[in-house]
Each structure stands twice: as structure tokens, then as C-alpha cells.
Symmetry: C2
Subunit: 253 residues, 2 copies
DNA sequence: TGACGTCATTGAGATGCCTCAAAGTCGTAT
DNA sequence: ATACGACTTTGAGGCATCTCAATGACGTCA
């Protein structure tokens, strides 16, 4: 673990000094070009838990990178309930799905105190006219998202409750790992309810699966704190295809 | 109806003369620039039913546009069954999800005799370095796909069997309509089995829902021929959010 | 620190879809 | 024309998950 996940960060770190630069958009730019990206990025005040970054139907104007905290995106079903479409952790980019419309197709809300980098899309487009590598990176981001959504569709149409939750936990673990945090032990930023909503399960089912996983020694969980105690078994439940080869968990510390 | 859906087309129509140019990639290019796209497009022999365009794991090299016929993409589940991830009709583009990997993440197979335009990705990237409008179009395509996948995730996690099939039929209808064909009456290119696989339902359930829909006068179906008899009801079942405002069906001819 | 509201857990019963099984229909190729 | 295989339909029963209900734990704020 390099540092604590929610360590305070000054609110105006330059991209070149940001610890996430190797995961975020700067990935596509050389050191000297990063400063240009830096110039167009707006860094707002931190969002408090429950505050919205944008609402479904808002004028599309920017894409966003999470710097700390966590964001969920959701849309309203026909019956007016919320359907969560994604969770975003630090270094992850959201807002790209609004690109071909005038308005955001989902709402984005902070699940805890969250810091955001805002990248006005018009400027990002100008910058990507300038840097082919940046636009390829954007394309790759979107392409990756399409593949991830397809994995999600597979989860929703073929997996049972146990497999869904195993997959979800393994996926979270690998995302934490990528950011340099422990993949064995972490804090969920979402409630059981939100998890169930996202995974197409009732809260009660999520809760029962958690209980069962603990009885079987797969995980231990106290509230939102989760520890993966048997990642081999959990991966097996999740199904090998869920993780990229470079995302395989280390089995022991 | 402007012409029959499966009317024979000569196998080497230039983009500028293709009846699908207003729906396909040329959409992003001016008349004189289209010829450049034209030059990089490879037009192969027609694929027969069951033939593959590419296999999961094949080296990623091109994106493809369907010119006539129909393609399905699928991937293998952990248990080795096939999971269909999409159906592609004429003018629709597939292969973009492979963009950020070396290999295609899905297999693509012809569901009937199908003609394809192949666009080598390297050349497409060069061309889009030249034409900002083309690359914005590509981005929009991907962004649209992300939104559609999210609709699909919503379908899979919140809708029951009736709603899934209503949504599917309405979606197909609007895609036919966009291409200038009847949205009231069309031929399914997929089997009940494939439909169920895609929608996360057992074949038997699909069949039962079709029967029920016919009893209730929503549709009539003989084999793969489907007629929508009550599009208002069917849309209501599908849920308003499923269709873009510009995809709303005309209620009567 | 105590009280409240939110979130999580557990139990019991209902249900929608799946599985298995069998018969019926269609398309196709010989 | 006929026979075969593949696809579709229908029925019966089982099961995973949902729904409803109640209790329990936690976090937060006065």
C-alpha cells in the first residue's frame, strides 16, 4: 500500500504531479504536453456525499476524472426507480457516454466526499486534434468500456447471485490493486442496496450471499469493510474470463 | 418500403453510390472525401449463413459495416456456451470493441447470406487523422454503443420476460424503419433460441411470450415473419425510455 | 450520550422463469 | 416427394430469487 486510499490531497495538484497521472488521461501525453491538458482542466471544490456532478438531461459539456472518493452513475427506470449503471473510482473517467448527444444520459452522484477533475469536452477535442495519441487513448477508453459493459451483460444474463457478487468483488479488488492499494482488503463505497441495484439483485439476496461467503471462508466483511480470504475460490466463482490476465490477484501478500 | 430488404446488390458498389451511405461511415464525409474512404474499403465475397467474419481471439485488424444480411456477435461463457452480445443489420458497424486490444473480444458470424465492407483499422485511423469529422463520427458511434449497452443492462437487470421481448421487437422495428423498411412487418434473422440467448431468457420462455402476445393481439408471428399489430401497447410494455425520440414508431401506415 | 433514521440481516412465503420432456412444424437436401 | 434434422411449441414441476415483514446494527447529529 503506497498511501491511504482517502488521504487528503490539496485541491489543485497539477496533472504532472498527480499520483494518478499514469492511470488517467495524461497517460497519453508526454511530459511537456501534459501541461497543456493541465491548462484546460477545471478543478472544482470537493463534492460532498450525495451531491451531484451532473444530472440526467443536463447539457453535455465535459468529461470528468475522479481524483479521490467515488462516484455512481444512474438513470431512472420507467417506474421511476433508480438503476445504477456504474461506479467510478479514482483515475477513472466518466461522462463519455454523453458524447454523441446534447445531454448526459445518466446522473452522476458522489457516494462519499469526492474530488473531481473536469475536462471541458470542446477543449479536449481541440487538444486531441493536436495529439493523435490522446485521441487514440480516448478511443481505447471507450472501447474498453464497451467490452466491460459486455462483461456486465453476460453477468446479468447468465450468472447467478453468488457468481455476480464474486465477480463484483474481484473486479473491485483488481481496480484497487491497479491504483496501488490492497486488493485483499478494502472499503466498499456503496451500500448493499446500491450493489444489488447495480447487479440486478434484491438487497436481501446480496446480504444473504455475503453471509454465506463468510460462512464458507471466502471473505470476511464488517459493514463496508471487506477482506478477501480466499481469492482463488472467489475468482473461480466469478469465472476466469472476468479478469484481464494483467489483473490477476496475488493470492498471498 | 423503398425496396425489398434482401434485394440482391452488386458486390462492389462504391460508397458514394451505396444506398446506406447516409447511415454508415460516409455520413461523416463530404462527397469528394468519400472516395478516399472508398479506396481503403475491402469488399469481400458474400458470407454464407454460419460463416464467420472473425473469431474471438483473432488479431484485431479491421472494423466492418454490414451491407446486406445480418451478423451476430458472441462470446463463450465460462461453461463454454455461447453468449450473444449483439445483432448487426445493414449499415451498422461492428468490430469497434476490439480497438483497444490486440484481438477481437467476440466472434462474428453471419446469420444469413451477408455482404460486408471491411475497413482496415490502420487506414481508418490515418483517414481520421485527416478528417476530424470522421473521427468525431467514430467517437459518436462508440458513445452511442455505450448508451445502448446501458439500455441493455437495464433490460437485463430490471425487466421481465414480456418487457424484454417487447423492447427487442420495438428496437428491431425502429432499426428497420431507419433503413427505410417497414417497421410494422419484418423478418427476424435470428432464431427463438438466439433471441432468448441475447435477452437472457430460455427458448421456451420466448416461445410462450410470443404465443401470449399473439393471443393479446400485440403481434402476429408466423415462423420468423413478425407483424406488429398494436405498437402503442407494445411500446408501453417496452417502456418509453427504450426508444430515442426520433425512433418512435408511426402508429398507423 | 442518547435518540433517531438509515442500512443490514434474517425468516417465511410467493412467483416468474428455468429445466426436463414430448410432440409438432418447418426447411432442406437427397 | 420424402425423410431427416433443426427449430418451435406446449405442458408439468422445481428452484432461485423476489417480496413482505420484522428485528438488529450502525452512524450521525443534536
Amino acid at each position: 500500500m503506497t498511501s491511504k486510499p482517502n488521504a487528503r490531497q490539496p485541491s489543485h495538484v497539477a496533472c504532472r504531479d498527480c499520483s494518478l497521472s499514469s492511470l488517467c488521461l495524461p497517460l497519453a501525453l508526454s511530459i511537456k504536453d501534459i501541461d497543456q491538458l493541465d491548462n484546460i482542466i477545471k478543478r472544482g471544490r470537493p463534492l460532498k456525499k450525495g451531491e451531484h456532478l451532473f444530472l440526467e438531461g443536463d447539457q453535455f459539456s465535459s468529461v470528468f476524472a475522479v481524483r479521490s472518493g467515488a462516484i455512481k452513475t444512474y438513470t431512472a427506470t420507467n417506474e421511476g426507480e433508480e438503476q445504477i449503471t456504474g461506479f467510478y473510482l479514482p483515475s477513472e473517467i466518466l461522462g463519455l457516454s454523453g458524447m454523441d448527444t446534447d445531454t448526459y444520459p445518466v446522473s452522476a452522484q458522489a457516494m462519499e466526499t469526492t474530488m473531481i477533475c473536469e475536462i471541458p469536452f470542446e477543449l479536449l477535442e481541440m487538444l486531441s486534434d493536436q495529439f493523435p495519441e490522446l485521441r487514440r487513448h480516448l478511443m481505447r477508453l471507450m472501447s474498453k468500456r464497451i467490452r466491460e459493459d459486455q462483461q456486465m451483460m453476460m453477468l446479468l444474463s447468465k450468472k447467478n447471485a453468488d457468481e455476480r457478487i464474486a465477480t463484483f468483488l474481484i473486479n473491485l479488488a483488481s481496480r484497487f490493486r491497479r491504483r496501488g492499494f490492497s486488493s485483499q482488503s478494502f472499503r466498499l463505497s456503496m451500500s448493499r442496496n446500491e450493489m444489488g441495484n447495480y447487479l440486478g439483485l434484491a438487497v436481501e439476496t446480496v446480504s444473504r450471499v455475503f453471509t454465506r461467503f463468510q460462512k464458507n471462508g471466502l471473505i470476511s466483511a464488517v459493514g463496508k469493510e471487506v477482506e478477501i480470504r480466499n481469492s482463488v475460490e472467489l475468482c473461480a466463482l466469478a469465472g476466469g474470463k472476468t479478469l484481464d490476465p494483467n489483473q490477476i490477484l496475488v493470492t498471498s501478500a
